[in-house]
């Protein structure tokens, strides 16, 4: 089955017929609801907050945000952005409590700095990997989106974006764009290697002023979760070669061995090799 973003743009694909089908399908409702709950688990918001819903569509995830009971940290106030007027129309009919915006996330996030406590996105950002016109590129759209998202989140705020990557290239493209914007980023995959794999991009926007997180690192997000294996592929700060300091005696001896192997004439090593000379002048 072909992917919708390969055939049409988001606002054209989600016309009135498609919007109605999407929202009334119980299968889609269930999947979206479970993904929203999983994303909320990762967001870990403990008090009623202002949340941005990126690609809110007909408000399926927004409704869940509004209905979180107080004992679970809710209810939350949310603001949603979507590019499809038909989907937003359905949201209006369902009388959602959040504020809706007709906007293209690839053009940025038009809120002042530090507005949101958290951001959530369900099945939306893969649409950014396609640029419909020649005036803009996927990289530009992704950069605008993540840049705007970064500054509109409060410091220490988290964003969780569930998306459907077409392939590993898209996963890379999206993750590197997020990192370039300044986020701490990690990918969580539920049911990996299966047909039902769900990919969540978990982002942190800097450190919060209150240093209450044990690990400011992105892996701190899944610290207390069961059944999550952490795979850390980040480059280590110290490379293997950096162990030997340049200019030291060990380095000189290593260089002499290298030259000897090449066949050059090398003086013998003695206690005088690399010794600090007395500076006469």
């Amino acid at each position: 089955m072909s992917r919708p973003e390969d055939t049409l743009q988001a606002d054209v694909h989600y016309d009135d017929v498609e919007a109605r089908k999407y929202t009334t399908s119980s299968r889609i409702q269930n999947i979206q609801a479970s993904m929203t709950r999983r994303a909320l688990e990762l967001l870990d918001v403990k008090t009623p907050s202002l949340i941005l819903d990126v690609g809110c569509g007909s408000g399926l995830s927004g409704e869940i945000l509004s209905d979180i009971p107080p004992e679970e940290g809710g209810p939350h106030v949310w603001i949603g952005m979507d590019i499809s007027p038909s989907m937003l129309d359905v949201a209006l009919q369902r009388d959602v409590e959040g504020d809706l915006f007709l906007a293209d996330i690839g053009q940025g996030v038009p809120f002042r700095a530090g507005t949101f406590d958290a951001a959530i996105s369900i099945s939306a950002i893969q649409w950014l990997c396609n640029a419909e016109s020649s005036e803009t590129s996927p990289q530009q759209r992704l950069a605008r989106f993540f840049g705007g998202l970064y500054q509109s989140l409060k410091r220490g705020g988290r964003a969780v974006c569930q998306f459907y990557p077409k392939n590993d290239v898209q996963k890379q493209m999206i993750t590197s764009a997020a990192v370039k914007a300044g986020f701490g980023a990690g990918l969580l995959e539920d049911d990996p290697e299966t047909k039902n794999v769900k990919v969540y991009l978990v982002l942190t926007a800097g450190q919060s002023a209150v240093a209450n997180t044990k690990s400011g690192d992105i892996t701190g997000v899944v610290e207390n979760m069961e059944g999550v294996d952490v795979v850390d592929n980040r480059k280590q700060a110290k490379s293997g070669k950096g162990e030997i300091k340049k200019g030291s005696k060990q380095w000189i001896i290593k260089k002499k061995e290298q030259m000897e192997r090449k066949g050059k004439v090398v003086k013998a090593t003695s206690k005088y090799t690399g010794r600090k000379r007395r500076i006469a002048f």
């Binding site: 907050s49 202002l50 106030v77 603001i79 504020d99 007709l102 053009q107 038009p110 809120f111 605008r144």
Partner: protein, 127 residues
Amino acid sequence: MKVLTLNFLTCAVKSCKSSSDSFPLHPKDAELASDDVEVNPELLVNLLPRLDWKALKTTSTELGFPQLPDSPPTIDELQSDDKLLKDLHSLLMETNLMEGKLVCGVCGHEYAVREGIPNFLLPSHLV
């Protein structure tokens, strides 16, 4: 859209990002509606430090409401004074801008609002 959202919304045009006058947007030909929303004191306390009170004063005057006091209430005042809480709640969460335009103070771009939804789609030369 709620008045609360207006306190956070800026102009989306790229060249306006550096200017501080692109916030807040000015409502024009505004039609308001009132909603009934349950009071959420915890949320208001959470949001209070983040509200731009000066901008809120500007917005509320432009919408035709009586002028707000010059300085924002403190968290203690908000938690102790029930009427203050209700008034703030009524302004931020229950007052909705349904129709009209939002104008940027810098570039003059007008964002249309229809049925409570503002249109923030920009032509590519403005992005």
